[in-house]
C-alpha cells in the first residue's frame, strides 16, 4: 500500500479547445494539500485550466475531479472551495461588508456575522467595509474579493492572479495569510505572473507552456531536471583571467565571459559536473574562489528556458 496521500484535485488528461485553437492539451497532474503555484506566460492556458478545475468551464477531453467527485455542474462541491477569478469587477453599488455577507449566505455560512467580520479582518480591511466597493482602489477590491472567497472557510482555494493591484505590504500580508491557511491543511492553487511571489509561497509548481504541462514538482527539483540545459554560473576569484582560460577547457563548460567587474560568467552544459570539477581546477591552478553563484536559479530563468525550449 502506498503512503502517498490522495490528491485533492486530479486533472486527468485534460484538453480544451475552442474551435481550431487548442488552449490546453492533454494535461495531467494531481494537487495535494499545501500551496501549488500555477505558472506560465500569458496565453499559456493557465486561466482556462483554472476555470476547468473550478467547474466554470467544461473540458473537451479528460476529467477534473475534486475529492474524487467531478467538479463540473456539482454545486454540492462548491461549498468546499473558494475561487477568486482573475476578473476584478465587483458589484460597485454594494458595500464591502454586504458583498462578503452575501457570498457567505450563498455559500451556506451559519454564523454569518462572525464569519463576515473574520474574513474582513483576515484581509485587513475592516475600516473600509462600510464603503461601496465602487469607491475602492484596485488593491482594496482584490482584498475584499479575497475576503468573500474566504468567508465560508473553504478547504480548497483557487486563486487566479490574486495579488494584482496589491502594494508590497499587502503582498507580504497575503503571503503570510496563504502560508497560515496552508499550515491549517488547506489546498491552495495560486496563479501569478509575478514569479517571485509564487516562488516564495508555493511548495510545488506547475509550469504550463503552450497549453501543455512543461514541468511539475518542487521548484528546485524542476531546476535539477533541467540541469542538462545551459546554465549560467557567476564566479568571483582572485585571478579571473587565469580561471577563465582554465575553466573553458572543462567538458562541462561551453563558454566563458569575463565581466568588467572581474567576475567570470560560465555557461555550463552540466552544472552537476561543474560543481565537482571547478573546486579541483581552482586548487590545481592555485586560484582562490571567493564566490560561486548560479544565475539561473530563479523561477524566472527556469520559466524562460521552458518557454524558449
Amino acid at each position: 500500500m502506498s503512503g502517498r496521500p490522495e490528491p485533492v484535485i486530479r486533472v486527468d488528461h485534460v484538453s480544451r479547445w475552442f474551435g481550431s485553437v487548442v488552449a490546453v492539451s492533454d494535461v495531467t497532474f494531481d494537487i495535494l494539500p499545501g500551496i501549488t503555484g500555477l505558472l506560465g506566460p500569458n496565453g499559456a492556458g493557465k486561466t482556462t485550466l483554472l476555470r476547468m478545475m473550478t467547474g466554470l468551464a467544461g473540458v473537451s477531453d479528460g476529467s477534473v475531479t475534486m475529492f474524487g467527485e467531478p467538479v463540473r455542474d456539482n454545486p454540492s462541491l462548491y461549498g468546499r472551495m473558494g475561487v477568486m477569478s482573475e476578473h476584478e469587477t465587483v458589484y460597485s453599488f454594494m458595500k464591502g461588508r454586504e458583498f462578503v455577507r452575501m457570498m457567505g449566505r450563498l455559500r451556506g455560512v451559519v454564523d454569518l456575522d462572525a464569519a463576515t467580520e473574520k474574513a474582513i479582518d483576515l484581509v485587513d480591511l475592516p475600516h473600509a467595509a462600510h464603503l461601496p466597493m465602487g469607491t475602492y482602489s484596485r488593491g482594496m477590491r482584490q482584498r475584499m474579493r479575497l475576503a468573500a472567497t474566504l468567508v465560508h472557510d473553504p478547504e480548497v482555494l483557487i486563486l487566479d492572479e490574486p495579488l494584482n493591484g496589491a502594494d508590497p505590504r499587502q503582498r507580504v500580508h497575503f503571503q503570510s495569510l496563504l502560508q497560515k491557511l496552508a499550515e491549517g491543511g488547506r489546498t491552495i492553487v495560486i496563479s501569478s505572473h509575478i514569479l517571485e511571489e509564487v516562488e516564495q509561497v508555493a511548495e510545488t509548481v506547475l509550469l504550463i507552456v503552450n497549453g501543455k504541462l512543461a514541468a511539475s514538482g518542487g521548484f528546485r527539483s524542476i531546476r535539477a531536471a533541467l540541469d542538462k540545459r545551459p546554465y549560467h554560473v557567476r564566479i568571483i576569484s582572485d585571478d579571473p583571467r587565469a580561471l577563465a582560460s582554465a575553466v573553458v577547457r572543462l567538458p562541462s563548460v561551453d563558454a566563458v565571459n569575463v565581466d568588467p567587474d572581474g567576475a567570470i560568467i560560465v555557461l555550463s552544459n552540466n552544472v552537476r559536473d561543474l560543481q565537482v570539477e571547478l573546486p579541483k581546477l581552482a586548487q590545481a591552478s592555485s586560484i582562490s574562489l571567493r564566490r560561486v553563484e548560479p544565475l539561473d536559479d530563479s523561477l524566472e530563468s527556469v520559466f524562460g528556458y521552458l518557454v524558449e525550449g
Binding site: 476555470r51 473550478t54 467547474g55 466554470l56 468551464a57 467544461g58 455542474d73 454545486p75 454540492s76 462541491l77 462548491y78 461549498g79 472551495m81 475561487v83 477569478s85 476578473h87 469587477t89 465587483v90 458589484y91 453599488f93 454594494m94 452575501m102 457570498m103 449566505r105 450563498l106 455559500r107 451556506g108 468573500a148
Partner: protein, 237 residues
C-alpha cells in the same frame, strides 16, 4: 429571502431604467385618456385591438420586460460576476428563479399599473374588465420575462434579439399570419383577458381559458428549464 433575488433587485433598479419604464408605461394611459375624451373615440373593439393588444400586450409590456429580464444574467456575464453565483452550493434553478422573480417584481408594477389605469379609464371603472386586463398582462409579462431571461443567457445581444422578436414576431407576423398567433405570447395574453372577461376581444376568437392557462404555464416552465440547463452547461466567464 434569496440573496440572488435581492442582488438582482438592486442590479435592475437603476435610475435610468425607472425613467424608461415610467415613460413607456405612461404611453397607453395617456393615449387612453386622450381617446375617451375625443369626439371620434374608438369603439370598444378598436380600442382593444389598438391599445390593449398592439400597444400594451404587444409593445409596451415586452419592451419594458426585455430591458429588464434580458440583462438579469447578461449584465453578470458582461461584468464577469456570474461566477459569484454559479460557484455557490445551490442548485442552478435557485439562481434562475430568483432572477426571473426579480425581473417581474421590478417591471411588474409599471406594466400592471399601466394596464390597470388604462382599463380603468377605458371601461368606466368596470372591476372585472380591469382584473381581466391586468391579469392577462401580468401573465404575458411572466411569459415574456422567462423568454428574455433565457435569451440573456444564450446571447450577448439579448436586447437586440429581443427587440427583433418583439417587432417582427409579436408585432408583425403574429398579427398578419393567422397560424403564427398560436406561437405568440401576445395572443395568449389577450386570450386570458377574454377568458376572464368574455366581453373583451369578443370578436377575436382567441383560444379557450384552459388552453391559455396550460400554454402560459408551459412557456414559463419550459424557459425556466432551458435557462437552468444553459446555466449548468455554459462556460461561465
Amino acid at each position: 429571502m434569496s440573496p440572488v433575488f435581492l442582488l438582482t433587485l438592486r442590479q435592475l433598479s437603476g435610475k435610468w431604467r425607472v425613467v424608461i419604464m415610467t415613460t413607456l408605461a405612461a404611453l397607453p394611459v395617456f393615449f387612453t385618456a386622450m381617446s375617451v375624451r375625443a369626439i371620434d373615440a374608438p369603439s370598444v373593439s378598436e380600442f382593444e385591438i389598438i391599445v390593449l393588444s398592439t400597444m400594451l400586450a404587444g409593445s409596451i409590456a415586452p419592451l419594458i420586460i426585455v430591458a429588464i429580464a434580458s440583462v438579469a444574467f447578461a449584465n453578470e456575464i458582461e461584468e464577469r460576476t456570474l461566477a459569484n453565483l454559479t460557484l455557490s452550493p445551490i442548485p442552478r434553478w435557485q439562481i434562475v428563479l430568483p432572477k426571473l422573480a426579480a425581473s417581474v417584481v421590478v417591471a411588474g408594477p409599471f406594466i400592471v399599473g399601466s394596464a390597470v389605469l388604462t382599463s380603468f379609464l377605458a371601461f368606466n371603472h368596470d372591476a372585472l374588465a380591469i382584473f381581466a386586463v391586468a391579469t392577462g398582462i401580468l401573465v404575458g409579462l411572466l411569459m415574456y420575462a422567462s423568454v428574455f431571461v433565457w435569451l440573456g443567457l444564450v446571447t450577448k445581444q439579448a436586447i437586440g434579439v429581443g427587440l427583433l422578436y418583439i417587432v417582427l414576431w409579436e408585432g408583425f407576423f403574429s398579427g398578419f399570419v393567422s397560424g403564427i398567433r398560436f406561437f405568440s405570447i401576445r395572443h395568449y395574453s389577450i386570450a386570458l383577458m377574454h377568458g376572464l372577461d368574455p366581453r373583451r376581444f369578443a370578436e377575436s376568437q382567441p383560444v379557450g381559458l384552459p388552453t391559455t392557462i396550460a400554454v402560459s404555464v408551459a412557456v414559463v416552465v419550459l424557459f425556466l428549464v432551458l435557462s437552468t440547463r444553459r446555466l449548468r452547461n455554459m462556460d461561465v466567464p
